[in-house]
Symmetry: D2
Subunit: 346 residues, 4 copies
Amino acid sequence: MIKVGIIGATGYAGGELVRLLTGHREAEIVWYGSKSYIDKKYADVYRNMFEIVEDRCLDDNMEELAERADVIFTATPQGYCASVMSEEILSKTRIIDLSADYRLKDVSVYEKWYGIQHKSPQFIKEAVYGLCEVNREAVRGARLVANPGCYTTCSILTAYPLAKEGIIDMGTLIVDAKSGTSGAGRGAKLPNLFCEVNENIKAYGVAVHRHTPEIEEQLTLASGENTVINFTPHLVPMNRGILATEYASLKKDVSYKDVKMIYDSYYKDETFVRVLEEGIYPETKWVEGSNYLDINFKIDSRTNRIIMIGAIDNLVKGAAGQAVQNMNLMFGLKEGEGLELVPMFP
Amino acid sequence: MIKVGIIGATGYAGGELVRLLTGHREAEIVWYGSKSYIDKKYADVYRNMFEIVEDRCLDDNMEELAERADVIFTATPQGYCASVMSEEILSKTRIIDLSADYRLKDVSVYEKWYGIQHKSPQFIKEAVYGLCEVNREAVRGARLVANPGCYTTCSILTAYPLAKEGIIDMGTLIVDAKSGTSGAGRGAKLPNLFCEVNENIKAYGVAVHRHTPEIEEQLTLASGENTVINFTPHLVPMNRGILATEYASLKKDVSYKDVKMIYDSYYKDETFVRVLEEGIYPETKWVEGSNYLDINFKIDSRTNRIIMIGAIDNLVKGAAGQAVQNMNLMFGLKEGEGLELVPMFP
Amino acid sequence: MIKVGIIGATGYAGGELVRLLTGHREAEIVWYGSKSYIDKKYADVYRNMFEIVEDRCLDDNMEELAERADVIFTATPQGYCASVMSEEILSKTRIIDLSADYRLKDVSVYEKWYGIQHKSPQFIKEAVYGLCEVNREAVRGARLVANPGCYTTCSILTAYPLAKEGIIDMGTLIVDAKSGTSGAGRGAKLPNLFCEVNENIKAYGVAVHRHTPEIEEQLTLASGENTVINFTPHLVPMNRGILATEYASLKKDVSYKDVKMIYDSYYKDETFVRVLEEGIYPETKWVEGSNYLDINFKIDSRTNRIIMIGAIDNLVKGAAGQAVQNMNLMFGLKEGEGLELVPMFP
Amino acid sequence: MIKVGIIGATGYAGGELVRLLTGHREAEIVWYGSKSYIDKKYADVYRNMFEIVEDRCLDDNMEELAERADVIFTATPQGYCASVMSEEILSKTRIIDLSADYRLKDVSVYEKWYGIQHKSPQFIKEAVYGLCEVNREAVRGARLVANPGCYTTCSILTAYPLAKEGIIDMGTLIVDAKSGTSGAGRGAKLPNLFCEVNENIKAYGVAVHRHTPEIEEQLTLASGENTVINFTPHLVPMNRGILATEYASLKKDVSYKDVKMIYDSYYKDETFVRVLEEGIYPETKWVEGSNYLDINFKIDSRTNRIIMIGAIDNLVKGAAGQAVQNMNLMFGLKEGEGLELVPMFP
């Protein structure tokens, strides 16, 4: 059994890690780290876990945790993981960081968009961007994995094959994304109150959202072209789910079949990516609770653009599920272990 | 592998059976019956099942199905199962009926509340009321199980220990229940439209809801007293979940500890019933997607009443989950097989 | 024009006062009091009021406000209004208190249920309980009106005629109430986050909710019998609305027509109380945004109980609307001025 | 008093017309037309109108209606209004058509996108596109007004000033729109059931939605350039509201102030258009229940694009509210009569 430690176990992503790992046959959680709830029973924080998890929350002592865990998930605010990282820790355990600390290869981009100094840039190079479908081999050997963001997982994978194959003009890419409210975290903030979110939709972080450079970096790598995009996230009155609607001009004269063949060539063997049938567009409900990414597209000959649409559960494929998928790869387990989650409908 | 046939596989309860059985290690679905969608791919009706279920929907030919399946789940409208039941079918396969056809032992009560004639009353006596926690032994040997209703499962089990132990005055029992909208089924009816349900709560079936006699019959059996109750269901703007708030006068002078001890004596070894800690009242979100029933109570010395509260996921413990639990018992499997579902939060 | 001051103008009830008074032809708001947002533009706190309200928030200086306003609404936490009340203030202006400070005639009951000391019990006797349909005449002359609670308005008026006429056994009354989340206020608290409330229903304050003694006191006055009830509130995933489902044993052998006649005799001339047609039960959506209370009932001969159901918009008839109704009475205006609000559907 | 007839009074837009006209001081409804509910009490179809509307539904006899009404609102399916229109009717009454029949000036575009033959193309030229802020003067004298679509009202007005002033490259315009579910109408269809919409977001009508040519035609008129756009609507789990997020490349080097000045020059005297303060983006909740359109924008110098965002209540400014605004203009009333609706929050 792989011994797992979680730092930030009482946030929504942390809670989802607990849900998934509870059903994992090769892993067990040995440390429920939560600065806010030290000594409190975990099941008192998340009462769905009553009689399922008996443990109490612990602090976030990385040194001690490194001794006891084979892998540590850090589901913590930006900056935390970078501030505690050290060669000693990495020599004893492996890290899957759900924050943004090691996602961006260019530290100046990180510091500009996140507005904080990076405390351990020396590990950025080593860190593997844990987008399993793209970086599978690199993840296998990694000590330090940067688990992608929720919006970014969905946005990148939805456009990836076409970016890689040079089908779309990267200078025209626009990502209009919609997210459920769990993406905003469990902090008690006025804008996340039920009455503020319910019966409402809004854009936020317009032209300044931090997931922008992450998408840009990965699609630049994929396309070989310097990619600068518009990314606009929206808050939707639902708990879970991200839908990304992406627009780009076509560089080549392609048919539906051409594009379908490209998507299939990238994803037909991928357990967790489903390219839908023609005319059927993704809905977040169809992936809820599961690790799937559903994708489809439409070519609009009137505008010579392609509209690509992707949907994930932000807490699963967008966070905890992908983190477990990374863990499975790192430890040579079946990639889908613990992730055989049938989407819940309704 | 147990071969399973489902009639009514495209309703919400049928869909949940498919979700649960897909993860069951000892059963496989061989027949997706759906009169409305014959020959249509099941995954075209429930697109969450894309690339998970490849089968097409079949008709509801019970005779043929009885040849091919070890067990048949009938998730069908009232009257259907009774109309097709025969000794021949029962000699070849087993039936778990999710409709009300065999739940009530008194056929005249059935005919009065449901307003239809019972087509095969000769099987009522044999049918076992499949409330596993109460009738476990009888279920094991059964050919025909009447799977309890959603409201009734929650309402009965929440009051059962106190009814059985003679703690509450059965003449005073009032059940005020609240349900998510999936309980209303997938029929395209105006009152179930999003805009009619959202931002709204209402009572319905006031003093005439069909689950009333089912609760009464079971609690009469438990208490040994003729039990006539008020049962008021309410429609809540959420997909899943039932909360039953139950009121009864106390017949004995009991303390919190006394009552807690009674509940524990009935349920502490039950995998799927969780009696919460003092002062913590059930919330439907804590059981969502799982087979749990959460219960707690409060003694009000001011009124000499006890308030009992129970919560389930109406599609799981209130329908498909309990049906699978019954199947497991009938076939000598581990009772929780396929039901190790950690509640999803949020 | 009546000059109105509001203390607590930035809570949800305060915001609703502003919405209603903006459309009032005989009143104008001269003071938007909000301790949390002093000097901030009101429309920056509630952006729906952009270009409608130009004022900035002020502090809660009651003395100064008393000089400037003809009437002050205090939409403040329990204890505040009692702590600042004085004969001087009452000699200069009138007060409509939306908190509970002057609702209960027995100060010891107040202090027990609210857990705080009452700072100005000398004004309790003078204070008029502002349930307009019951205390209309007393309200007209009042200097100090205690605006009823949201649950209590709905619960009391729904049972009032039958309590008053001696039709129901007051010892058997049970009120099972369901409320939208705006009733919990605009404080940034974890239990009120969207993801905690959405797709969830729960009971809270079981047997200890503070609205209990208020309902009891008023129904004791109405019935002439010492009334002790069970009151159980539930939180529903919607913004607005309260539904009260009330159960009581009948003391007399009455028919539907008898009871309908009683309700009509009390309410047929009431603008804001609608007794629905037989078999039609209130839904909160039908009163949303309006000052209506919808009522209906069902006699259950099987149990000899009557089920009474009432629905209001908790922020209108349950708070701000009723407060404006009280103001209209106090100042001799048309009772419905500013309250001609057609319920919004959907 | 202006005598108003409504055909299609029992759809959601028709219901909203009734709500608004009930509060209108210069108009009264004389005909509640509803083919589906002939002879039924209107308040039995929309119970929020109990004791407010006493009338019964009538058929859709346009000839008779033309005799009795000064103006007829047709809130009917596409094709109906065109099929009954005649010179005789227009000589007796005025028509405000909420369907698409007279919105598009090019009948072949209408027939292609709507897939039906236009039955009275001879009136297309006369019909005035009732976007009040753009065509105010033409509306005043009109006999036949084509009330704009919900998506289109929001999409056009949000981009209009920049299109008109030549600031944006019309060949790059992309409109990503999100709508509440009332936009789908009150028909009992499976995709609009609560459980299908709740906790879900999806795109629909991708690249083929019928509001596309309407937006294109109006922005072509405004900009003087042939405008072909991508328009992607999404269904959001809320009752009301449309948010349009629009992207376009800038043709000129403009600053925030430049663009703000342009918007202000078009809209600062418009009662129902609010250009928000810098950095504040529209939320549908801020306009709910009102006739406002809220707009703001963000220039992204990284991509040389401008993001424009608009929000309306789809049933008010997107349908019934704008229809009443048109009526007010046609009859020389105050443009805002009956529309002094303060947005409801929460």
